[in-house]
Amino acid sequence: MGRERKRKMAITLTERAAEKIKQLFAQHKLPESAALRVGVKGGGCSGFNYTLDVTDSPAEDDEVFESCGVRIVCDPKSLLYLSGTEIDFDEELLKGGFKFNNPNASRSCGCGASFST
């Protein structure tokens, strides 16, 4: 049980990831209170996939962070695997999208979309 053992560190965004998120929020006319929900979904050979969603208000047990002016919420289960992760955004056409620089990941495939701890 790593939950108590590991110190939970914030999930952060790079400047350009934050810009992209803000742009997406504005594009979809989301309310000021909108936050980025970050999570992991179990399964797959590497153990997880990252999930990104928008949330209006954090759930009771969510951890809430703020990075570059974007609120980030994460449920405790996902945070076990995401503590200290920095989310980046890459404009590149083929491999573009959000990238997860996850210190918990011992192995990461090229696309950064799945990992194992």
Binding site: M1, G2, R3, P31, S33, R37, G39, K41, G42, G43, G44, C45, S46, G47, F48, T51, D53, V54, T55, D56, S57, A59, D61, D62, D75, P76, K77, L80, Y81, S106, S116
Partner: protein, 610 residues
Amino acid sequence: MDETFILGIDLGTTNSLAAWLTQDGPEVIRDAGGGALVPSVVAFSPDGSVTVGAPARAHAVENPLATVYSVKRLMGRGIGDIRGDMTFLPYAVEPADDGTIRVNVQGRRFSPQELSAIILRDVKSRAEAALDRSITQAVITVPAYFDDAQRQATRDAGRIAGLDVKRIVNEPTAAALAYGLDRKEDARIAVYDFGGGTFDVSILSVAGGVFQVLSTNGDTQLGGDDLDRELIDLITSEIREEFGQELSFPPATRQALRAFAEAAKIRLSEFDSATVEVALGKGRTFRRTITRREFEQRAGRWVEHTIEHCRRALADAALQPGDVDEVVMVGGSTRIPLVQKRVGELFGRTPYTAINPDEVVALGAAVQAVILAGTHRDTLLLDVTPLSLGIETLGGAMGKLIMRNTTIPCQAAEDFTTYVDGQTSVDIHVLQGERELAKDCRSLGKFQLRDIPPMPASMPRIHVTFLLDANGILNVSAREQRSGQEASVQITAARGLSKEQVDTMVNESYVHAVEDMTAHRLIDLRNESARILGAIEKALHRAGDVMSDAQRRLLDSAVNTLREKMDGCDDPDELYAAMAAANDAADPLTRAQLDEVIRKTAKGKKLDDF
């Protein structure tokens, strides 16, 4: 749809209007000319006909005694309650036997409810014409300070007008709803409502989408009309100075002056000056340019009254101005720059003025109506799914498609395939829950996709779509993409689920997080290993001769290790490594097969040539 349609109505002292919810959000009902406001005025002609709204107000100039306005002030009141109002009302008000009020219009007696019903019926029929549908249900707004009798009278008026009043909503709450402030968590909201005939301020708290009125304050005799009266007084005193003190103003002239003053006031919200021209008969014309500064000097004391009421409301709610998180402006008088400035100064924040202050209450009523009807909630509230939704995948894992706390409505899709050659049907087991294994989740239903044409394992592409609508109805469909075979099921995912059950499931998912995630990964790794082993076997059978002895020995050893690990190893990293090793060792086979495919399609080029 018709039985769930509820019209939102702002039954105002000065104006009334209605709104409904379109796909793009709430919208007010407008007539062909674009007008939304129906003056809350009823006029009775000598021939017995009744007019409502702007024509009735025009009628007031000619026949003030048969024109009834501000009837909202009389709703649910006794004759004793309205002594103060009576001096302002040009029409006759009398007590009924039961102590309630009757309005006497040229000998005909009407209850305030009946008069309000005439206005409501007009609003209703305008909406019916605009939307081309019959309307039988409504939400009607009332001031927060309305007592039970006044609220009941409003309900009765609706009933007389042929409307089933689903709810009486406080005007400040409606205004806050129109701005989506029900989504605020634990906020305090001041709603400053400076209308034509009344002023009130309400301090609300909101938490979990529920509003509470902490305090209200105000002055039912203070409104935009008072500001008009300032201008009327200015004009009449100057007219008398110019044309003689003995000059009297018949009712028609007074009504006309009222209209001029109001127009000047409205203009002064946008421009620095407004010119008034009054024809006094016998060739006499009064002309006067009024500056905004002049107006503000005269209006200022009324505005300060409203600020004083705000302070009292804050005191009653035991709050400091800085404790208020949001300020919402309602009522036409809040367009006055001086009002916005003073309210902003008091609360130390810029008030919300984005929504037309004459329409914001009706728009909020429409929002409330839709919440009551339970339709299109998605456009109002970002609701979330309390537990994840997915399907059972091979080996008994829970493959989540929609994650817990996802905003609804939402849609997710994933492709699955068969794992046995020639498989012609698949079972889709729909699950709900946070755990990673199917046995620890809640079964929502099962269905079968049949008549898949026989194909080798992994060939069919079964596209599974989850569609969770705003009302929590889950549609799961599965479609085999090659054959077009399709099956689906609809489930009310939220039904029969208590908060305790949700909390228990979520807590257990935290307690078992690591073991669950490991178990899920192991299942998927074993499936993938089995698939790889099967593929290697087939490839060896077909193209085993492309491998050197050394390559073959390496592959055999990797395959054996993987077989062992599949059954005996519970460390996913070890299994993953064995799987990767087998995959790598099979590389010559994979390349040979790819070369073969390419040879067939690209005329003999080697993979390396590309």
